[in-house]
């Protein structure tokens, strides 16, 4: 039992030390993803309390956050230097894509919000 706790502690410590090595830009993106997902969580809790009556409003709120999170994950994949797949892609280009996709996503979201 004690060894399990110690193992878990060791695992978390290893994870933290490994993550500490992550570049600060990627950490910001991770923080943004966490922020988006926790906003989704708040909205889901609200829906479970009062019901989903203006369903389109609820849906657009959730999708806005999830979409942002997904786009941010994509951005992270492209910006990450460890990822050899996007080696030739400059991070600025990735950021421009991110901005464009966000603008299109939110145009649709606003239209759907009602």
């Amino acid at each position: 039992m004690g060894s399990t706790t110690a193992d878990a502690r060791a695992l978390v410590t290893a994870l933290r030390s490994a993550y500490a090595a992550t570049p600060i830009k990627l950490k910001i993106i991770d923080l943004y993803v966490v922020y988006a997902l926790s906003t989704v969580l708040v909205q889901v809790v609200y829906m479970s309390l009062v019901g989903s009556f203006p369903f389109n409003a609820f849906l657009s709120g959730i999708l806005s956050c999830i979409g942002s999170a997904v786009l941010a994950v994509c951005l992270r994949m492209q910006v990450n230097k460890e990822n050899k797949e996007f080696k030739d892609l400059p991070p600025e280009r990735a950021f421009a894509d991110f901005v464009l996709c966000n603008l299109v996503l939110h145009l649709v979201i606003m239209n759907f919000l009602g």
């Binding site: 910001i28 966490v34 609200y46």
Partner: protein, 705 residues
């Protein structure tokens, strides 16, 4: 119509429209027919007129004038529901009133026979005497002189001064015009254009009263002045207008001096005035009797009045005609239906315009003519006898006529003693002679189709309205025969003879029964009728309908209940119609549909929503806190030079796009948004491209160096 299919509604509507049109035409015809027989004021009319006058809490009927009209009208109608004591007491107390009001106070006191006459006289005499002296129009004269003449004798000081009287008479002579019309006031005589055709309705009564006053004050009026007044009066009757059919009336002048009330008011004024004049003139006023009858005709045919004032004019005019010296119109009304069975005399009611019986005339039947038959007149001159009990005149008409039917009568009424009665010439009317018809030998049988031998037969008694029950199938026939006999013994042919079959589902079939020889006969061959009966087996009611105008006992008699067995409908024939929809139900209003709006969805409490709005902002705060913890900064953000401008405009453009989205959510439509968005996108693209490519170049340089 009996078995109209439910789908055939447009023809049904068209048919109903024709039916309605026909009915309207019939109603119009009936009105025209009815208009040929003049009727006195009926009890119903009197009741309706009395209904116009409704007293308020004080017993009054509105203003003094309206109250006078009401009490006078109710007096003529002989109604006792006037609160005379209350009105008398209130009238005495009226002071400081105009000449017009004083006139009506006096008139009300006169009609109600108030015991306070002397007190009333004390109040109004000074007002009226001043009115006589100051009067310069006919209307003012009418009020003051008229009231003074009425209260003469109530009090000692009410006499009109003789000098004043002669002034009045001079004024009257000034106002009278040679053609029988009158100027309204002195000033009118100067502007003759305005006075042209003027007819103030108060000239006659005033003249009459003035003359009366002259008479009673023992003043000597020259024969010439009587003559001129009389000539003026008779000329006035030359102004009578007519719109045909012996209807005469006075039309009102069309200028502002008229008192309203139209032809009724004008006619009333002339009648009242000429009656007053005829009462005081020593010589008889010669007015043509036809014209007097024409006026009665107008008053009775004009219908119920529209207002209490009109009702008063109509009623008072009729009461004047009750005892009108030039001529008293009387109305002759023969009964319209005469039954052979009751041995009735042909009765004729002779009444005055208000419906009082007139006993002193001779009524003679000039001729009677059978309408529809080409026979010569069936009657020569015959006198009627007065029947004391009913107040009518009767004669034995039935013994001379040939049979049932409608007869056109021409009656003549001659005054016996009182020479002034007028009935407006020969009276034409019609009487329908009716009788009960004997129905005999009513035989109902079910025959075999091939041999014609009766399988069932029943003789029914009409007096007992007997009913039988029988059964038949499609291989048999139904046979009906009966005879109709009029009282003279000849066979009678009514206008309508029908046999009706009514199925238990109320589907009806109508058949015309034709006369054959002595009686009537009908044979229904069910084999040929199977399709028309729509293969509808079951119980039918057999109903005989006989009706005629001259038949007292027209009837609808259910002869039998027939249990009919018809073959099954072959495949493909239309189903029998359901019960025909009742016309009333079809056109009746449909039940009202109450509109129910959609209930709004239940919304959460505002406080809870606001709390969660705050909660959604929490992660944002967390994001900023996290950024600070990670040590993120914007130190590399270019703030100077062309690069700074590009960087700021790039971020500013993105912010403006987000603001546009926000406005799109609030109020803009998609098209406006897209137009602005295109512009903003261009604005974002250029600085975005320059700043990002610069950053990219920078990082490549760093890598290579």
């Amino acid at each position: 119509m009996a078995n109209t299919a439910p789908g055939a509604s447009p023809p049904v509507v068209a048919y109903l429209r024709w039916l309605l049109l026909g009915w309207l035409l019939a109603a119009v015809c009936q009105m025209v027919t009815a208009s040929t027989v003049l009727q006195p004021l009926s009890d119903g009319d009197k009741e309706a007129i009395a209904g116009y006058f409704v007293a308020d809490a004080d017993g009054f009927y509105g203003s003094l004038q309206e109250t006078y009209h009401a009490v006078k009208a109710l007096e003529i109608l002989e109604r006792s529901d006037v609160e005379s004591q209350k009105i008398c007491e209130a009238v005495v107390k009226s002071s400081s009133i105009s000449v017009e009001d004083a006139f009506y106070v006096v008139k009300i006191t006169e009609v109600l026979q108030c015991p306070q006459g002397a007190e009333v006289a004390k109040v109004v005499v000074p007002i009226l005497q001043a009115g006589v002296v100051n009067a310069n129009s006919l209307l003012e004269l009418h009020y003051s002189v008229g009231a003074l003449a009425t209260i003469k004798g109530w009090s000692s000081n009410s006499a009109v001064h003789k000098d004043a009287l002669s002034d009045v008479f001079t004024l009257l002579k000034e106002l009278a015009r040679p053609d029988g019309t009158w100027h309204y006031s002195k000033s009118d005589s100067e502007s003759s254009v305005k006075a042209a055709g003027l007819f103030p309705p108060f000239s006659f009564p005033t003249t009459a009263i003035v003359l009366q006053l002259f008479w009673q004050s023992q003043n000597v009026c020259m024969i010439a002045c009587i003559g001129s007044v009389k000539t003026a009066a008779i000329k006035l009757f030359g102004n009578l207008e007519s719109h045909g059919q012996g209807v005469f009336y006075f039309s009102e002048s069309k200028d502002e001096t008229s008192q309203g009330g139209g032809a009724l008011a004008a006619t009333w004024a002339v009648l009242r005035g000429s009656a007053a004049l005829a009462a005081v003139l020593p010589v008889n006023l010669k007015v043509e009797k036809e014209k007097v009858f024409g006026i009665a005709n107008f008053l009775l045919r004009t219908g119920l009045a529209l207002s209490p004032t009109e009702a008063f004019y109509q009623l008072d005019s009729l009461s004047v005609l009750e005892d009108y010296r030039p001529a008293v119109p009387i109305i002759v009304q023969p009964s319209s239906i005469l039954s052979l069975n009751s041995n009735n005399n042909l009765e004729v009611a002779v009444t005055t315009v208000l419906g009082k019986p007139v006993p002193q005339v001779e009524v003679a039947l000039v001729s009677a003519h059978h309408i529809g038959a080409d026979s010569p007149p069936v009657w020569s001159s015959q006198n009627f006898n007065y029947i004391e009990d009913s107040g009518k005149y009767g004669c034995d008409f039935l013994s001379a006529i040939s049979g049932l039917g409608k007869y056109k009568l021409r009656l003549e009424v001659k005054p016996k003693e009182h020479s002034s009665y007028t009935s407006g010439g020969l009276v034409t009317s019609s009487v329908t002679v009716v009788s009960a018809i004997t129905v005999s030998n009513v035989q109902l049988a079910v025959l075999d189709s091939d041999s014609g031998i009766p399988d069932f037969s029943a003789v029914l008694d009409f007096e007992k309205q007997e009913k039988t029950s029988l059964s038949a199938n499609h291989l048999q026939k139904l046979h009906l025969s009966f005879e109709l006999t009029s009282p003279s013994g000849s066979s009678f042919k009514p206008q309508q003879v029908f046999l009706k079959l009514v199925h238990e589902t109320h589907v009806e079939h109508l058949y015309l029964v034709k006369s054959s020889g002595k009686g009537f006969e009908l044979t229904l061959d069910f084999l040929g009728l199977v399709e028309k009966l729509q293969y509808l087996s079951g119980t039918y009611s057999v109903v005989l309908i006989v009706g005629d105008e001259t038949m007292e006992n027209s009837f609808v008699w259910t002869l039998a209940s027939l249990d009919l067995d018809l073959p099954e409908a072959p495949e493909g024939t239309a189903l029998p119609p359901t019960v025909p929809v009742e016309v009333n139900a079809r056109f009746a209003p449909k039940p009202e549909i109450a509109h129910i709006f959609r209930q709004p969805e239940k919304r959460p409490p505002i406080l809870l929503s606001n709390v969660f709005l705050g909660l959604t902002l929490l992660p944002l705060i967390g994001f900023f806190v996290g950024l600070r913890y990670l040590g993120a900064n914007i130190k590399l953000f270019p703030t100077t030079g062309l690069l700074g401008v590009a960087a700021f405009s790039f971020h500013g453009a993105i912010a403006s796009i987000l603001l546009l989205y926000f406005l799109f959510w609030l109020k803009l439509d998609l098209f406006t948004t897209l137009k602005v968005l295109g512009f903003l996108a261009l604005l974002t693209l250029l600085p975005g491209h320059s700043i990002l490519s610069y950053l990219a170049d920078l990082s490549t340089k760093q890598k290579t160096s």
